[in-house]
């Protein structure tokens, strides 16, 4: 992923990716974040209770909680609407 994303778009990517348990390293790799920024975003989502950290077979994993659903649903609705009823461009 290249380009300038908003923090909400990054949160959406992290929370969507973490529907299945993921390591910190795989999250920052998948979401194209550096360690510092990744830690800030993941820390924020953990603090709010949208991500839960747990241990499994010696691995430190993160998983999206049910509390994140209102955010994910609202994001889905708003972004699909951009191309559903929004202005279109064609040559």
């Amino acid at each position: 992923m290249k380009g300038k994303r908003t923090q909400y778009e990054i949160y959406w990517e992290i929370l969507t990716y973490c529907r299945n348990p993921r390591t910190f390293t795989s999250i920052i790799h998948r979401c194209s974040l550096n360690s510092k920024i990744g830690q800030e975003h993941i820390g924020f989502l953990e603090d709010k209770g949208y991500l839960r950290r747990f241990e499994d077979e010696g691995q430190n994993l993160l998983r999206t909680t049910d509390d994140a659903m209102p955010f994910l649903d609202a994001f889905r609705e708003m972004y699909l609407e951009l191309f559903d009823r929004g202005p279109d461009f064609k040559l």
Partner: protein, 207 residues
């Protein structure tokens, strides 16, 4: 609903690719015309090394035409590179996969946010080339109207073709500018909608 969304998204992504290709064609034709128009005038300099003052405008024309066109191609190539990644992912998306569709939408918005200045520069370059070529067409039209080249001579027919070519490339440059302008209006609107969405999402996140 998702099918419509995916179709709209595909149409827009493909249109943007067409827009970049139009710019490549414009840039290539600009190089061709700057060479075709200026090189014959500075031929004595190239062949015999003899310099005359009246060659200066044509030398400048060739250099400026080249510089603008190379800049135009470079901007287009940079945009094409980032855009191709989105096109590749879009081709693999299933109409039922909302998350993948939203992922492409997020990538497209991020691409536009990052490349807004380059896209606007493309529009400006198209306008500069269009206006510049229209200006160079004026003396050509004057020469034809004044019958400086007697009709029937090969040089007169060639002059007509050069004039038509100049007008065609000028039109292409101005057309590219107008579609880039339409594109930026649509995407600016989308970015403003995402800004509003951000406020709502912030309220949800903060509970």
């Amino acid at each position: 609903m998702e099918q419509t969304t995916l179709n709209r998204l595909k149409l827009e992504i493909q249109s943007f690719k067409g827009l970049i290709i139009t710019n490549f064609i414009g840039a290539a034709l600009t190089i061709a015309f700057s060479v075709a128009y200026a090189v014959p005038k500075i031929m004595p300099l190239l062949v015999a090394g003899s310099f005359e003052l009246q060659m200066i405008p044509y030398l400048a024309l060739a250099i400026v035409g080249f510089a603008v066109a190379i800049n135009w191609i470079t901007r287009g190539a940079e945009l094409m590179e980032g855009h191709d990644n989105i096109v590749t992912e879009l081709e693999e998306v299933s109409p039922d996969d909302d998350e993948a569709i939203i992922g492409i939408i997020v990538q497209s918005l991020a691409f536009y946010r990052e490349n807004q200045p380059k896209i606007r520069q493309l529009g400006m370059l198209g306008r500069v080339v269009g206006v510049f070529l229209l200006l160079t067409a004026v003396p050509q039209i004057q020469a034809l109207v004044a019958s400086e080249y007697p009709l029937g001579q090969v040089i007169a027919i060639g002059q007509v073709f050069v004039l038509l070519g100049t007008l065609a490339v000028a039109a292409l440059g101005l057309y590219a500018t107008s579609i880039i302008s339409r594109f930026t209006v649509k995407w600016d609107k989308r970015l403003s909608v995402t800004d509003e969405a951000g406020e709502k999402l912030d309220r949800i996140l903060e509970g």
